[in-house]
Amino acid sequence: MQEILFAARRLLKHPLQLAAGLLAFFLGIGLNTAIYSIGDAIVFKPLELVGLQRLAIFEVFSRGQQLGIFDTSPADFLEYQSRLKSFESLGLEQHWDVTITRDGDPEYVSGARVTANWFELIGSQLLVGRGFRQGEDQSGNHRVAVISHGLWSRRFASEPGIVGRTIRLNREEYEIVGVVKQTSRFPGFMEVFSPIPRTPVWGQMRSDFDYSVVGRLKPGITHAQAEAELTAVQASIISRYKATHEGRSVQVVALNERVAGTNEMAGKYVRMLLVAAGFALLIACANVANLQLARVTGRTREFAIMRAVGAGRWPIARQVLIESLLLSLGGALLGCLGSIWCLDLIKGLLPTELWQFIPMWPYMSVDFHAVLTASLLAVGAGVISGVLAAWQSSRADAQDALREGGRAVSAGSRRQWFRGALVAFQMALAIVLLIGAGLMVRGANASIGIFDSKHPEQVATMQAVLPQLEYPNVEKRLDFSRRLEQGLKNLPGASEVALVNVIPMSDNGSSVSFAVEGRTMPQVADRPRALNLVVTPEYFSLMRIPLRQGRYLSADDRNGRDLVCVVDELLAKAQFPQGNPVGERLTLMLGETSKPCRIVGVVEATMHDAWERSPRPTLYRAFDQNPMLAVSLMVRTNGPVKAMVAAARNAVLAVDPDQPVRQQFSYQELIQTTLGGLRMIALFMGGIGAVAVVLACLGVYSVMSYVVAERTSEIGMRLAMGAQPRDIFKLLGGQALVMSGSGMLGGLIGGYLIAQLFSSMIFGVSSNDFWSLSSGALLLGAVAALATYLPARRALGMDPSTALRHD
């Protein structure tokens, strides 16, 4: 007990050091565990599903090019289900856009149609009622629904008698049979689930590639084993359906990797954050180790005296141990507080639009194991370095150490070398982090600003999805789109009006495969694909897309006339490398049908998706000739955009009072929301980078403080020998320069490699960015120089007599 008190007193004797150590713990552990919790929420435990580790999802590729997880046909699924032995069970899911009417305002929600075994398959927890029964996924029996807890509480005020009530979905009656827990759904943002209305014909659909397959692996079966079996089954399907299936392959991916996004980006970014946070933790550990080393080596004489009066090595080591433990445990405790605080901060940062795709987000809590691991690491670094240093200094011959102070000025070069190396290591990591973070921020800004020249802040947007039942045929849809377009054009202040099936940069897209008429028809997998945009004529001027050849679509390209399209220059170059594409005809494959269409113009290529690094070949078709169920509207105004959003909403209601819309934003807000994830990642990276810099500078500062303290008598002696303050400054500065300089060099090399890697991964990042960022890294050098200068100035400011009396 007494020893603990002594240890505490010794720690308190250097309050600055103590604070630096505790700060390192606080930031290092806090940040790390908070990021780890985010990783849990997004990738590692994104859902509360029984046996989540055994759930897998099928990802489809065509000739090695990723098509995604929604690319399996019903007939293929049935064949998988009957032949695959690696899975306990397999289920099928299809997105289902749902409009809820009655019991409140019309509301658009995301829904899923699934096989009847869905909730058992994925191990969902139902709060009330039941999942689907066998046979309910047959047409005629399918009018049942499971709703999410969120929808239940929002729309039905958590009414207890919900089971058995009916709900009106897409203007048909469904019986609610159950309520599923918010964090126990897959896909995690679905609010309504209903069985697929299967028919015998449905089971025959071989190339309706619109479904997603989820399977539960048998215990002990790996993804690779399952994939091998699947590949064999796939080969047999391909041999029978060459025309449509040639080149298609399927991979078995862990389900948790596809919860927060349909591609691997979320997982990639989370892992990147984890690595970055791990770096920050390492920097913190180096700090703690450094402080301990400095503390202990500063006491070499004291230990020698203890040895001289007969103390063994153990009591000395024990003293240091107690001290280290005290510091570390205090630090770990602070770290726990830090992680709670950090996590709260982060939770509040993410906008709702984003965390709806991360079901666990609102329930994120500090991961105990992560705290423990991080704390153990930091405590370990402190204790081990402290005790080792104590052991080493107590091993030194007691007499030697005692006389060292009296006989000569010790530069203690070996220990300083090691501490210098630790600092260099910190600096290197910090610079790598800083450059990485800088690149991420640049990438995010470049992506968000990509359409700035199109002035998206002056465009009102929203999306409507027309229910199939109400709009079963072309006439009805045409009526809707024509009236809506006219209604929007009549709005005061509307300068340009466009309807489009999917708005670029809104994280949606559909593609179409096509063939050039007059050439031999390639096999399915070899057919070129293009982004499929269906637009009204004013789209091009609204989106500021310049014409290259021919003409834009016009109001004369109406339903019933010759089907026409405009292509972008990428498609033109790829398909008509030397000829003029205007006047050529394409055959478009749309699901099971095909349509011809004549190219009337070529326009400039433009980005569609920020995750992609460049535009993709695009086909623009006339909205009037292809009226869609998905209708997004865009209205450019010179007046206030908020008012235009509201006016446009009313224009939709004027056409169909039951039609809900979603994402009522200015176009700029829409882009920012879509890229919110990227922005958050960039923000987190920036935060980690900032913490790393703080920690690294703390490291430089504390080591330099010790160096100055240790060399005080030497400094006094040199002054007495006629050295000028300038000489002393050179001496200390040189030491700091070697220390930080080598670290910075290492960091710049690492940063250069990171820049190469990122530039191939993230849009808007070029490897040239490294050069401008590296000059930013020099800023860290400047801060490090300041961290050196402050203690050095103390040494210079003191009268030589003080330095001389120091021994």
Binding site: G406, A408, E714, G722, A723, L804
Partner: protein, 220 residues
Amino acid sequence: MIELRNLEKFYQHGPSKSFVLRRVNVEIKEGEFVSIMGPSGAGKSTLLYVIGMHDGDWTGEYYLMGQPVHKMNRKERNELYKQNFGFVFQSYHLLDNLTVAENIEMPLTYRNIKKQEREAIVADTLDRFQMVGKKDLFPNQLSGGQQQLVGIARAMVASPKVILADEPTGNLHTSQGKEIMEMFKKLNEAGTTIIQVSHSDLNATYGNRVIEIRDGWIEK
């Protein structure tokens, strides 16, 4: 050569001043060998540091060869110090990662002397102190007396007019101390002014004058 008039030094302890040097009037002529003596805590080291301009925080007048030190700034004092003083420490203060020759050379590196010239001076000094054979040894390979000889050689290498020494024999045996004192005597006879702080009456006999100091007051 050195003239202190009404020199005072105090430390402020809250509201009260505690004087370390009180109305000190001292005159030391060129070529003298002065011993400053007195009980522990009397202010001997302080007086030495003031003379050596390592301590700038005092009041009164200080003339060095007629020049008013009390009117100089830190930079001018540094320059003056460099030209005129060498310093010997009780605990030698050699750098243990430098050889004997390098330790001796160190003050010259602060005096704008070319490498070649420095080497010549160091060789001369080693010769004078009869340490040529030990020039490549490190301080921890020498005895205490030998280390202090290196300390004196280092203080002498830049040919100062005055050597200040704070208890130069304090860490040494009597026989080793004798050796050091003989060396000082030799240097003094060659014209160097020597001011040493000493506790031992025996050492004081090597000098030609004793300044007694007690509680900051000069006794005689």
